[in-house]
């Protein structure tokens, strides 16, 4: 008798795990809804807010409050200033998509396998554990990044259609384009690996999401500081932050790799 099995290539593992997870996710209506709902809401709210700001310019009192909160827009035409602030404010919310969406997918990917008891057969294959973890990360990161980029693309088109030049300038500023292209995948990876790490310790999807949700806090804080002009981030700052994120990603992945070991999974995970 000839044993047919051999160690599969990394690309085979990643593509097989991704296809399998995406097929399962597609069949899970709740997961699809939870994945698509936040970006759709943020996108719709953003487009509505920018459009509304064009129709209803701020009164004198609102304007004073806006200038006080965001010194960066002092001197601009009131309607343009408001649209610029709103357009930029929603970009912060877009940065939240890669913290929310992949967390749900990643948590389901691990806790779902735990509760369905599908991990043991998976671990019995010749697949190396680091590659399995990497494949699971990719399976969660890719849809989240695509959803975020698509939402950003629609937002750009919508702001281009209904927004003022200040709003268009705000959403196409190089630092935000850079943030979308570079930081979104890095934040997504952080959220995913944090989700996997947390999922190794808890069995409840909701608990894992609540703990993992804390990753939004620094993103929101930084975004608000940026919009209000308290902290002005240029392209260089975004690059520096991306490098820091890259290091954090590597550390969190290593921690997830340590927690995600055959023997731990089989004998300690409950």
């Amino acid at each position: 008798m000839t044993v047919l099995a051999r160690a599969p290539s990394r690309s085979t593992i990643i593509s097989s795990v991704c296809v399998r997870e995406w097929r399962e996710a597609r069949a899970n209506k709740l997961l699809v809804a939870m994945t698509l709902f936040p970006p759709l809401v943020i996108l719709a709210a953003g487009i509505f807010a920018v459009g509304a700001a064009a129709i209803y310019p701020p009164n004198e009192r609102d304007l004073e409050a806006i200038y006080a909160a965001a010194p960066a827009v002092v001197g601009l035409d009131p309607a343009q200033a408001v649209q610029g602030i709103i357009a930029q404010y929603f970009l912060i919310l877009f940065m939240l998509i890669p913290t929310i969406v992949p967390l749900t997918i990643a948590v389901y990917s691990v806790i779902g396998e735990k509760s369905a008891r599908t991990l043991e057969p998976l671990l019995a294959t010749p697949v190396r554990i680091g590659e399995l973890l990497l494949a699971k990360s990719v399976a969660s990161v890719v849809p989240a990044v695509i959803v975020t980029w698509l939402a950003y693309l629609f937002y750009l088109l919508a702001v281009g259609a209904v927004g003022s030049p200040a709003a268009i300038r705000a959403v196409t500023a190089p630092r935000w384009v850079l943030a979308m292209i570079v930081m979104v995948p890095l934040i997504t990876a952080l959220s995913v690996n944090l989700g996997i790490l947390i999922s190794t310790r808890v069995n409840d999807v909701r608990v894992a999401q609540q703990i993992g949700g804390l990753v939004v806090v620094p993103v929101v804080a930084l975004g608000i500081a940026q919009v209000t002009g308290r902290v002005v981030l240029d392209e260089g700052s975004f690059i520096q932050m991306s490098l820091v994120l890259l290091v954090i990603d590597a550390v969190v992945f290593a921690a997830a790799r340590l927690a995600f070991q055959r023997e731990n999974i089989l004998t300690r995970w409950r």
Binding site: M1, T2, V3, L4, A5, R6, A7, P8, S9, T12, I13, S16, V19, R20, R23, E24, A27, N28, A116, R117, T118, L119, E120, P121, L122, L123, A124, T125, P126, V127, R128, R262, E263, L266, T267
Partner: protein
């Protein structure tokens, strides 16, 4: 028959708990090997050790010619395991489930497709190939899990309680599948609580509780512990001198009356039984039938395991 699995002093501790204590085992190529023990005996832990899923605390093992601890990835490629729970992806179809595992076993597209079809047909699930597994019965899921374990043609197939929770029909189908896989020359390492199943399927069995208590074929264990009993039915009923006649036959160790039959114990029924029949006929008895009584494996198991409890 060569040895396909050999372990020496294989030990697994979880903190202060000793799950497997110096397991010495040899399993031959192509045999169905039963691994029997009470709940909590460490059977599942042993399976995980031998499938290179967890690392031993001490001892060594060679599985399919590969060294545990050194060739773990290759060991996992050379063995198949049916875990206690089927663990299938319920939202995926039968074909998608098997194809996923075929990919993870590195079978390559053409081989993977061929193997998936072969095993779905073997399990009688080909017509259900595109239905989500969630719609399958428990027996169908178990067949799927066995197919998944055997998909890559492993040299040893480890089966953990393959018929637990199945109805008699499904259990019989699964047992037939195990025999079919064994007939292909595969070694089957069967963990079970089901003594009847072990008796029917296994060439040899090991009684295990943290360590191996006894290993032998079911027949030899039975014979060693209970001897071989033969029931001789005399109609309308045996008379006292019939019993004396039987006792006088060379090779009969013991004989007694039981429920209208003469029951005798002998080391070699094939030689003794014709002599007994001849002697009874000569003594004027009408012999209706002669049949061998088999001690149940369950009795053997209980006796050995309980003896081990008293004298560990």
């Amino acid at each position: 028959m060569g040895t396909v699995l050999r372990s020496e002093g294989l030990t697994k501790r979880f903190g202060s708990l000793l799950a497997v204590d110096g397991l010495d085992l040899e399993v031959r190529e192509g045999e169905v090997f039963g691994f029997l023990g009470p709940n909590g005996a460490g059977k599942t832990t042993t399976l995980r050790l031998l499938c290179a899923l967890i690392a031993p605390s001490a001892g060594t093992a060679e599985i399919a010619g590969l060294r545990l601890g050194r060739d773990d990835g290759r060991i996992r490629a050379s063995v198949g395991i049916l875990t206690e729970h089927p663990g299938l992806y319920e939202r995926l179809s039968a074909r998608e489930n098997l194809r996923f595992f075929a990919d993870l076993y590195g079978l390559g597209a053409a081989t993977a497709d061929a193997q998936v079809e072969r095993f779905l047909r073997l399990m009688g699930l080909w017509d259900e190939r595109d239905r989500p597994v969630a719609m399958f019965s428990r027996g169908m899921k178990q067949k799927m899990a066995i197919a998944r374990a055997a998909l890559h043609e492993p040299r040893i197939l480890f089966l953990d309680e393959p018929t637990t929770g199945l109805d008699p029909d499904a259990a019989r189908t699964v047992r037939e599948l195990i025999l079919a896989l064994a007939r292909e020359g595969r070694t089957v390492f069967l963990c079970t609580h089901n003594m009847d199943e072990a008796d029917r399927l296994c060439d040899r069995i090991a009684f295990f509780r943290q360590r191996v208590i006894r290993i032998d074929s079911p027949d030899r264990l039975r014979a060693e512990l209970y001897g071989r009993s033969v029931e001789v039915r005399v109609v309308p009923a045996p008379l006292p001198h019939h019993l004396e006649t039987v006792r006088a036959v060379p090779g009969v160790n013991e004989a007694w009356l039981e429920n209208g039959s003469i029951v005798l114990r002998t080391a070699d029924p094939t030689r003794t039984d014709p002599e007994v029949v001849r002697a009874l006929v000569a003594a004027g008895a009408d012999v209706a039938f002669v049949s061998e009584r088999r001690a149940r494996l369950e009795d053997v198991y209980l006796r050995i395991v309980h003896a081990d409890e008293v004298e560990p």
